[in-house]
Symmetry: D2
């Protein structure tokens, strides 16, 4: 079960300072999340059929990222799994053989949601089991504790 | 001294769920920040000439936002002003006469940075004074305390 | 009946060259089109309810556009109205009092489409009438004739 | 010498109709162009060092594109090479083994430009030679001839 997704940068991810824009980091996390959920919950399909809502993001930027043809490696794993929500932790890194840099740490809080009935729902037993298999440590944010 | 900026939505802010995408909220905050800094620091220009770096974002989504021709009102004010950094608090709201909804609360940590020399710097006395005049309460995030 | 829409720029419309990116011009046209159609066809609603598809774009860039707080004025008018499609001509300009620059000329071909039945449709008599009231000259593209 | 680039889609390329948005097609072409130029002109570097400006785009949409994890294959080749400009032709297709669909045809006119001196320039002999080796047929646009 995969715990990272390599996401290709786009030239347009750069802003007027010629760095990958801070908001675009969240865009890269979105793509990693979509790809990972497809793999993690693909057989069950519950997650993708009825869905989850993004309730919260937190992200800390650790190093500037310049556009390059090599993708970024986004490591991601669940934390804080409860009855109707969970957090997803991320690290934005260089892929193997490209470098050792950690560019950002982030966390997304996701709420299980039933889109057909437009109402919150509980995570299914299958979903919770899968999330627990994949679960890892909470994100060691630094700024929060200032 | 303005403490809110009305930002026009774009049709493309919607994602495949036909709501304003969660990442686009950060994009709206970026525009409010650029407009507010221009007004707050326009005379001094220190902030815009030598700059600030985004070190961190945190955002909580409170209600779905649908595309409409009316802008969103982004209230923003400094918090946690220190020697070389400060936080910016935001609320994404309806403008007067349009509604009463609060869509999101957010916070950006900004680090004073000297782009010409590519190194962190201290906030100038003028910058700190201006930030203190505008300062307000910290963002009452709820998810963090779960 | 309005023939122009002022569209606010976003700081993120700039690319790594610190100019409004060529692709973002199409994004600005999209917003002008959405706002204009809402006004032009708002009473009838046929256009917006059953829809139109973008079949083609053509755009010529005439001058670089730098980010500023003033919006761009997008003039737009129908050309080549036929039974099931029409073209929309655009000019991207400075608004009155800001400048006299013409930044781009463009044209979008739109096909009337019935989204509920997922099939092409004919323009209604009301739609054609409205388009004819607003119709203007074709776009004087230069590159095509090289 | 490569004549196609596979570009990964992003979930956010979809608009509120849940199709890859028409403007995002131009974004995909941008990435293919950046990757191809890097390969075509990488040894010489003239093209990338002093640059080219986008003077014009034309694009025809032939079939709707839905988000999927498989990339799109963007075939691209120069046409109409002159002393100071050339056109780039594109086809947006499925990669081998994924399908046979042609989604769009497009063309970008590019002007050789010397960024350091901010003035148009002539294509170098090396650039022209390389472009001629890669050159192909003009794009068979259909809408233009209506």
């Amino acid at each position: 079960m995969t715990r990272f997704v390599d996401v290709a940068l786009r030239w347009s991810d750069m802003d007027a300072y010629a760095h990958v824009n801070n908001v675009q980091f969240l865009r890269l996390l979105e793509d990693a999340r979509v790809a990972a959920f497809d793999e993690w919950f693909g057989q069950d399909r519950t997650m993708l059929e009825t869905g989850v809502l993004v309730a919260r993001h937190e992200i800390e930027y650790l190093a500037p990222l310049t556009f390059r043809h090599a993708p970024v490696r986004i490591c991601l794993w669940p934390t804080k799994i409860s009855g109707a929500s969970f957090d997803l932790a991320y690290e934005v890194r260089d892929p193997d053989g490209i470098g050792e840099q950690l560019y950002a740490r982030a966390e997304t809080s996701l709420v299980a949601y039933d889109f057909p009935s437009a109402s919150p729902r509980r995570l299914s037993a299958t979903e919770r089991e899968r999330l627990r298999e994949l679960a890892g440590d909470p994100v060691p944010f630094r700024w929060r504790r200032r």
